[in-house]
Symmetry: C2
Subunit: 482 residues, 2 copies
């Protein structure tokens, strides 16, 4: 306890990772050496080598925070991950399982016995067990449920009864409640007798006899006010609370806006049900933004960096197969105009440009709309102005890009009519693209669906086929007959 041991977060973990990988590779090497030379040498016991390396590995892993262990596991290929997982002290198993990503958690759990899982869960709070519940085998879950007392079982069932996107699913039960007729001295005494406060306790919740939240008592006020004052005089009555069935995205925005650390969660009678803390909110924001980004790129669900090739292939091929379908559908149009292309083969290289630019422009619009929807900035009051603005913008950029592309086409083929057709097609396709980029997320949002899902694939399918169609129909009308 003499000198501080600050964790050098920047390099420490990567060094640790390198050391572990080096150790595991050396172990493999030595083991294979023993095996190959076993007949010549005096039958050395491989298990001695294993034991020695196991001890060195455990030494490297000791004193690490569960979150750091989770990071190491996520960064290791499957076989090395299993070796490290076996070397981690079993009392940390529960915490580590909580910290790893969903996909990595599945690889870890799949290798564990029901007994091991139940004992790992025994060190966790009920809200933490709820986080794991979806990934646990039914038999393990039953065993865990049997080991809980009545209150814990009720808590667990409460959390599990809410949908993933609701505040109730993210809350914990680490709240401290007090009555408003006590004085601060009594509160301080109560806390001292508790001996320990749940993490992220920045305020106590003041409830009445019906468990309805009347106010909050920040620890700061407890520390800065005279001990003789009553809770009722000191508590804050103008506080933020959340409904159990409220959308977590709303709660996350409130945490960001009001810089909250913890807040009460109540039912529709105002009765205290649980507590929402900033650490859960950070995890939520990170997961949601990650998910949005992966969805944009057509990765269905978060992927373990070292998940099996088969698993990854399945995860990614769904999107690719959908793309094959839309790509074939949108290029069908080209076949209809085969004659047009044969008469003016330059179209074959100019069409893809018009199609691609449509996709890019529409994507810009849709991503900005998706983000503004996520921030709650788009309302019925301003949506019409927004649509007008985006279409004006499309007209402006479409004219600019249309002229540019027309000019470039002229420089390549010295065909003024062709340049005009390509420029006009570009302008029209950009207008279509922006219109579609606006519509898809807005309509999906209106229908109560996630505006980000499928936006880019539908957009690309439409802008591609429209791009081809507009170029070819204009070309057939204005160029071929002349």
């Amino acid at each position: 306890m003499d000198t501080p041991q600050p964790i050098d977060t920047t390099h420490f973990l990567q060094q640790q990772l390198d050391a572990i990988v080096a150790l595991l590779e050396k172990q493999e090497e030595e083991k294979s050496h023993f095996r190959t030379s076993a007949s010549e040498r005096h039958n050395p016991d491989v298990s001695i080598v294993v034991d020695e390396y196991q001890a060195r590995l455990q030494n490297l892993l000791s004193d690490l925070h569960p979150a750091d262990l989770a990071f190491l596991l996520e960064s290791l290929p499957l076989d090395q991950r299993q070796t490290v997982w076996d070397a981690i002290k079993s009392e940390l198993d529960g915490q580590v399982l909580l910290e790893v990503s969903d996909s990595v958690r599945q690889t870890l759990i799949s290798g564990m016995e029901v007994e091991e899982l139940a004992s790992a869960a025994s060190s966790l709070d009920t809200d933490e067990i709820a986080d794991l519940a979806a990934d646990l085998p039914k038999r393990a879950m039953l065993k865990i449920l049997r080991s809980l007392n009545n209150v814990e079982r009720t808590h667990l069932n409460t959390i599990l009864s809410y949908q993933e996107h609701q505040v109730g699913a993210l809350m914990d039960f680490g709240m401290i409640t007090v009555r408003d007729d006590l004085n601060l001295w009594a509160i301080t005494d109560y806390i001292r007798r508790l001996g320990k406060l749940p993490s992220h306790t920045d305020k106590l919740f003041v409830v009445d006899q019906n468990n309805v939240v009347k106010g909050v008592l920040p620890l700061q006020r407890l520390l800065t006010h005279a001990p003789s004052q009553n809770v009722a005089e000191v508590m804050v009555t103008d506080f933020v609370q959340f409904q159990v069935d409220e959308d977590t995205a709303h709660a996350a925005r409130a945490f960001e806006r009001y810089d909250l650390i913890s807040a009460p969660v109540v039912d529709n009678l105002g009765q205290l049900q649980g507590r929402l803390c900033v650490d859960s909110i950070i995890d939520f924001i990170r997961e949601k933004t990650d998910e949005d980004m992966l969805i944009q790129a057509g990765v269905e669900e978060d992927e373990d960096l070292f998940s099996s090739v088969w698993r990854s292939a399945r995860n990614r091929s769904v999107w690719l197969l959908v793309n094959v379908a839309t790509a074939f559908a949108s290029t069908r149009i080209i076949d209809v105009f085969q004659d047009t292309i044969l008469q003016l083969v330059a179209l074959a290289s100019l069409m893809p440009i018009v199609a691609a630019m449509g996709g890019n422009t529409g994507n810009q619009t849709s991503i900005l709309i998706i983000r503004s929807l996520a921030l709650g900035q788009i309302t019925s009051a301003n949506v019409r102005r927004l649509i007008k603005k985006e279409l004006t913008l499309a007209l402006l950029n479409g004219t600019l890009i249309g002229i540019l592309v027309g000019a470039l086409s002229w420089a390549l083929y010295y065909d003024l009519a062709l340049s005009f057709v390509i420029g006009a097609a570009m302008l029209i396709n950009l207008m279509v693209a922006v219109g579609v980029g606006l519509c898809i997320p807005l309509v999906r949002y209106k229908l109560g669906k996630d505006p980000a899902v499928g936006a880019s694939i539908m957009l690309t399918a439409i802008t591609d086929s429209m791009g081809f169609f507009i170029v070819l129909i204009l070309a057939r009308t204005f160029l071929i007959g002349k």
Copy 2:
């Protein structure tokens, strides 16, 4: 103070927004009504109408949190935004400017006098002024600097001396420091005399005579331990601290991992320089992920929902112009093979499919690599295994998609050789795409650049041109000569 006034975060703000828009539109209407009928009626004073609406608007805005006002301003078109901004109490101006997005802040500041800006800044802490500094006109900044005392000016200069991505630029100075030879009673007494703790104070920092951080004293320990104990006995010595010049992304990961609320920031001598809090970290995570997502879609910088069309056009056209260039470059290949297309016009509709699928596949890979790099999961120890895995995956998915696309081509054109060429081209292009999707972010990261920037545009340019090239060269070799 009798009844709690919880803020209904879900609907309240949107209702408020609708009410404001309705009010402003009604005002416009009445004003124009007065103007048009001014000659007929008995010259009514328009200013009475304006005053009345101004009062009603101020009534709607009163008691709103600065972050809520910021939300309202961001959701309003420019003219209405200005009206609302004028109606906001000037003592809140500084806080509101802090809360709005960069682009909206610029629209608000551009309409303000130097005097107004200086008085808005006078209500802010130095770290908050630093946040605004980049957007303030030089004259306003000079005026603000003159109004600060020496300590504040040093603080401000300290923060401004760090680069945007460094911890030092994000820290504040709201830390409370104590010595370890005091007992807890003395600390409690000291806090009570302070009267108020800075927000997000969950721990005090214990420093020695050289201002080196020796430990931290969480408020929880202060409340749960006997007042007679010394700080040295109670403080935590195994704590997380950050270097002033450390990358904020690292710090953000540490906050997520260790569930921190605040942490000391030190220089390389271990001397306390400031404090990093979870609210800044949440803002950082939100901004960084937003930025990454917008960059992927080719939006240069964050855009005000209602910025002028010209401004938006400029913001988005840069990317579009780059796209025009790459699109023309990659389709140049098609022109070289005009003869091939004329002999087999089906190629014109099949090439874009191969090109597009390459882009999609490469994008999946690159987005996963970018994310893993951001999470620090890719190290020299595992990068080779990762590359091997991705290429195996490409081989697998390429074979699957290749066979599928070949079969579909056969169904369309009944040409077995053509189907074979398209299927093979697809497999090859997917391998190329995954290779490029791996290389671009990894190489950019190795060179110390942001791996996300430009990844998708370079990728698409390469997969498009390679897609066209592979199809056409295979077709010329195996189909045309036969």
